[in-house]
């Protein structure tokens, strides 16, 4: 369970996030949807404890992301925008490094990496150094790395970035499986169709604010539109540059 309560964050003059509130339930997939620069990544960065919010509070699994950051990180797997792998290490070593820092070791770690290799179909390049990997390969390794410790909370910033059709399908199936296992999945995207196809709950953000939120059906009903894209356009145009 992720509870976000009025968080805000500014970078100098830019108010990237202004009092954003929403909740992401366990056993559900929640999508942060918004145009470029809406503040999706900034919100996620606050949640995965890399940035401190200027105001507001956020809790993950009941623990505060600022005051109890280490505990939050233990129950969380995050994939920031851009994979950020170590090019001199193999895919296996990249994943293992994160596993070890999460306290896994020995056969348990090896078994876990085997599982995830199967799951994300990394077998072909698992023992290659990640230098020169294609973007899709990098994203898949980064995803495996984020999930190596089997986290309860999964935060993914634009996870389908650079994935081909097959990899996108595999990722979707993986995310659905995580949901069915009772995990709390929060992902960001600016692609309406993707969010509509996958998410149980959509949080539309624009200009650093929540423009609308709810299940896809709720949103359609509220805006009296059958097309979610129209909902999206109307929701974000309802939020002014400077309200």
């Amino acid at each position: 369970m992720i509870e976000v309560d009025g968080i805000s964050k500014r970078f100098g003059k830019v108010e990237a996030v202004r009092s954003v509130s929403f909740a992401a339930e366990d056993g559900r997939i929640t999508g942060l949807l918004g145009p470029n620069g809406a503040g999706k990544s900034t919100t996620l960065r606050v949640l995965y404890t890399v940035l401190k919010p200027d105001g507001g509070r956020a809790r993950i699994g009941g623990r505060d992301v600022v005051t109890d950051a280490l505990a939050v990180r233990r129950s969380m797997g995050a994939m920031p925008h851009g994979a950020g792998l170590y090019p001199q290490l193999t895919a296996w070593e990249n994943i293992a490094y994160y596993g070890r820092l999460h306290g896994l070791a020995g056969p348990a770690l090896a078994r876990r990496i085997d599982d995830i290799t199967q799951l994300l179909n990394l077998g072909e390049f698992i023992d290659r150094r990640t230098k020169g990997f294609s973007q899709g390969q990098r994203t898949r390794v980064a995803l495996a790395r984020a999930l190596v410790h089997d986290p309860q909370h999964v935060l993914l910033d634009e996870p389908t970035n650079g994935l081909d059709v097959m990899a996108t399908r595999a990722l979707r199936q993986l995310i659905l499986r995580l949901r069915d296992q009772g995990r709390c999945v929060l992902l960001s995207s600016h692609v309406m169709q993707e969010v509509a196809a996958l998410c149980d709950c959509i949080v539309i953000v624009a200009h650093g604010q929540v423009a609308a939120s709810g299940t896809p059906d709720e949103l359609r009903r509220r805006y009296a539109e059958t097309d979610l894209e129209e909902v999206f356009v109307r929701a974000i145009s309802g939020v002014g540059e400077r309200p």
């Binding site: 940035l51 920031p80 950020g84 290490l89 070593e93 820092l101 999460h102 984020a146």
Partner: protein, 392 residues
């Protein structure tokens, strides 16, 4: 603790696979110094040794009047040759610079000598000729020595101690030439050691901070249940490992390189055996923490790899400043100076190489103060690493 070693292990492995890091840690840093040094010192030795040992040719007029003196000169590195012309020719030749000096022995030299009267010789020379001064001085020195030897014999024959006539004894200490240059060169060893150590850790320190951020691998790393201080200390320790490796290689390279040049010929009792390698390692090693922490601190201030390279590159020069000061002011080791990192290592190491006694108290102050300062900078670096701006 286990996480710390995980971080150290990963950084070591990651960088071991980077050719540039490896080359600078194990090759360029450690081998450049000793190589340059060996070349420099053999040039110096060749110059000075040949200066000393090359026999000075000494034209003599009237050699037959003083066979003993000629024999003495022969034994003391002079090539005595008969001057073909007369004294007037000799003067012209010296003035024209064709010869440096000509010795003229008085025809009555033998008689006066037998009678115990002052026997005369002439040294024809041009005092304004700089180039000739060296050979003139050597000739004069040899004549004085001969004279002193005879004086001592005569006094002893009369039952008087020769020391009576030596109220003041002058010992020349020559610092201008070979010995001085050798001392300066030996002082450079510490500089090379420090530079090699820093070079060894340079790329790892940059890669682990600025490089990690630029590659985008820092952000996911910070979502792991590891404190930033642990991450940073791990990176600093990994840097220390590379620096220690560089230090060992450099010391061994010096030991091997210097075993081929005989420093004794320069009047230096420089030794660089296994004992110096071992003790030198113990004396220099504490600097590793300080160097690694400083480089990491500076590198984590910067935004990009390139920027980090610039600033950390400048940092490598910093430890040489105290050594330069020491060379100019020719400071003597003291307890206070032992608290200054790099300077204390320099003074101790130089003493070690010169086979002078190393004060254990001084060594202790150096080790402790350098380690304390290293820990302090490490702490500062962790404070800095915790700051949010790190993520940009």
């Amino acid at each position: 603790m286990k996480t710390l070693w995980t971080v150290v292990g990963k950084e070591l492995l990651d960088n071991a696979r980077d050719r540039r890091t490896l080359a600078s840690a194990l090759l360029f840093g450690p081998l450049f110094g000793p190589l340059l040094f060996a070349v420099l010192i053999s040039v110096v030795i060749q110059q000075s040794v040949s200066d000393i040992e090359r026999p000075v040719s000494l034209p003599v007029i009237g050699a037959e009047h003083a066979p003993n003196l000629i024999g003495f000169l022969d034994r003391n590195g002079f090539e005595v040759e008969d001057w073909s012309g007369d004294a007037a020719d000799a003067r012209d030749a010296v003035q024209a610079g064709r010869v440096d000096v000509v010795l003229v022995i008085d025809p009555v030299f033998g008689e006066r000598f037998q009678a115990g009267l002052p026997a005369r010789v002439q040294l024809i020379q041009d005092a304004s000729a700089q180039r000739a001064a060296r050979n003139v001085n050597r000739a004069r020195g040899a004549l004085n020595a001969y004279s002193a030897q005879l004086r001592a014999l005569r006094l002893q024959a009369r039952g008087v101690s020769p020391d009576v006539l030596r109220p003041v004894v002058i010992d020349d200490v020559d610092v201008s030439t070979a010995t001085g240059r050798a001392a300066l060169l030996l002082g450079m060893i510490t500089y090379f050691l420090l530079a090699a150590m820093l070079m060894g850790g340079l790329y790892l320190a940059i890669d682990a901070t600025a490089g990690e951020r630029e590659r985008g691998s820092l952000e996911p790393l910070l979502t792991l249940p590891v404190t930033r201080s642990t991450l940073l200390v791990g990176k600093i320790l990994a840097t220390c490992c590379y620096m220690l490796l560089s230090l060992v290689i450099t010391l061994v390279a010096f030991a091997i390189g210097l075993s081929f040049v005989s420093l004794e010929e320069l009047g230096m009792s420089a030794n660089f055996g296994p004992q110096v390698v071992g003790l030198g390692f113990l004396l220099m090693a504490p600097f590793v923490l300080l160097g690694a922490a400083l480089m990491t601190l500076v590198a984590s201030f910067t935004k990009t790899y390139k920027e980090a390279q610039t600033y950390v590159g400048v940092l490598i020069v910093v430890p040489t400043l105290p050594i330069l000061f020491a060379a100019f002011l020719s400071v003597k080791p003291s307890a206070l100076l032992m608290a200054v990192p790099s300077l204390s290592q320099h003074l101790l190491m130089t003493a070690l190489i010169r086979n002078e006694p190393v004060d254990p108290g001084h060594a202790a102050i150096s080790v402790v103060s350098t380690l304390v300062l290293g820990a302090l900078v490490t702490w500062l670096a962790t404070l800095f690493y915790r700051r949010e701006g790190l993520m940009g």
